[in-house]
Amino acid sequence: MTDNVSFKQLVAWLHEFGTLVNQNKSYLTELDSAIGDADHGANMARGMTSVLNLVDADGADGVGTLFKKAGMTLVSSVGGASGPLYGTFFMKFGTSTGAADQLTPEQLAAALRAGLDGVLARGKAELGDKTMVDAMVPAVEAMEKAFGEGESLAAGTAAAAEAARQGREATIEMLARKGRASYLGERSVGHQDPGATSTAYLFEALAASVDKA
């Protein structure tokens, strides 16, 4: 077993993310009910179901094509805030990897960083605004740090997942400044951000997928 991420593992990542999103659909919607508009679960489930329909029919593509398609599918099937954001994330990820059929840990980290930059450019949120960015930034940074210190693929993705989870927890105490939760002002404090929650699933799914052959 090499320490690269195979095409199969990346497909598994999308499947695992779809599974987590679908399993937690009501939970995500519940979180969005408290400080948003009660649709984040439905949005993500609709989007990932579309992506997976396409991925299954599409096993022959390289990594770049796969993720660009996934991103475009999210953009065209989700709507709302999460559609353009997750869509941009995957599209930029795919642009970064290019036509590769597997990724080195460094390529993986670079692609995730590209996705994150896309999200920041599109949504203009900053750390601490109580959005998915608060899970995504620490996750990418943790992975970069781990690989920089020579850690294994498994360790780097696990660190990213753990950092995303902590970032998600940290949104609870934040006062929202972006997205629908910002309309609530002080009342947004004490609630966990739905988008940060789905982002934590994204990194949890990645860690789980590279653990598999």
């Binding site: 400080i35 009660a38 649709d39 949005n43 065209s76 805030a81 353009p84 997205g179 309309y183 002002g185």
Partner: protein
């Protein structure tokens, strides 16, 4: 959950069928979920595209027709439509003079319309955008998502629609849109939450004796919650922040008292009486008014108040003929 629907997943598809069958002003592109004028606008005029999450009916689809919109994109319930839909609408209605995107200020709507505008520009369609942001319940700040677009959207679509119908060019149409945006403010409240079909239960619980002040149009909780007051007291809580935010004294205004979907008309009329009394007191002259359900939040009970400064230009455009399912006069 008590709703007149078939499958939860089919609500919008089914409703679009009913809209197409009942509204002679429109045809529906079901593939893209775009409601278009049955008879396209003449070549050489600016076209207007709006859209947003479903659940706000008659907004936006009910405002497609002569004198208002050229197309409306229907998103999922309370969820911005996607760039593809907006792109399909934009291409379909462009009559050579450019297209104005009317966007309510929500992160999702803004981002999706942005992406659509980028694609349309690549394809050589001239696109301008106005972002409606009139909700004084939300503190405005450079560091936040800014104010929501709510009731003013209805007035803006009417007035800007008339300007486009007159044949003004894209810059002039944008100027009218900006003028409306600058002179309009809204504030809303809810007696009950709404129930999003896919969620199956109310978005928030509100005790039998409490109300939410400062709500938007997506069943989101408001700025704060308090004991239900009298209509007089509620009117004050809606009108005061508006007058505080923008000086309307001495101005002529168009006023809308809008129901959130489940409020009986008799209560909206009663509220209008209270709002008028407050405006009279404040030296604000009502030149025109709308009372009814124009921008709704599914089955939420409650109402919103919108004020718009109305000079002669605005009133002229307001009075121009309009023929849509949701607003109709002069035709």
């Amino acid at each position: 959950m008590k709703k007149l629907i078939n499958e939860v997943d089919d609500v919008i598809t089914d409703a679009l069928k009913g809209i197409e069958a009942s509204d002679e002003n429109v045809r529906v592109d079901h593939q893209n979920r775009v409601i278009l004028r049955a008879t396209p606008k003449e070549k050489g005029k600016v076209a207007l595209v709006s859209g947003g999450g479903s659940g706000h009916e008659p907004l936006h689809g009910g405002f497609v027709g002569l004198g208002m919109l050229d197309a409306a994109c229907a998103g999922q319930m309370f969820t911005s439509p996607t760039p593809d839909q907006m792109q399909a609408a934009t291409t379909a209605v462009d009559a050579g003079a450019g297209v104005l995107h009317i966007v309510k200020n929500y992160t999702g709507d803004v981002m999706n319309f942005e992406m659509a505008a980028e694609i349309a520009a690549d394809e050589g369609v001239k696109v301008a955008t106005v972002v409606v942001a009139d909700d004084v319940a939300v503190q405005d700040s450079l560091y936040t998502a800014g104010r929501r677009g709510v009731g003013l959207t209805v007035l803006l679509e009417k007035i800007v629609g008339a300007a486009a119908e007159e044949g003004r060019d894209l810059d002039a149409v944008v100027a009218v849109a900006n003028k409306v945006n600058e002179g309009g403010r809204s504030m809303g409240m809810a007696l009950t939450s709404c129930t999003v079909p896919a969620a199956g239960k109310p978005t928030f619980d509100l005790p039998e004796d409490e109300m939410e002040i400062g709500i938007g149009i997506h069943g989101e909780p408001g700025r704060h919650r308090e004991k239900i007051g009298s209509a007089r007291d509620i009117a004050k809580q809606l009108v005061d922040p508006i007058l505080h935010d923008l000086d309307y004294a001495g101005s002529d205004v168009i006023v809308m008292v809008n129901g959130m979907g489940a409020t009986p008309l008799i209560e909206l009329y009663l509220m209008y009486g209270e709002v008028k009394a407050l405006l009279d007191e404040a030296g604000v002259t009502i030149a025109r008014n709308l009372v009814g359900n124009y921008i709704t939040s599914l089955d939420m009970a409650g109402c919103s108040v919108t004020l718009l400064k109305a000079d002669e230009e605005i009133l002229g455009l307001w009075d121009a003929p309009v023929k849509t399912a949701g607003l109709r006069w002069g035709l």
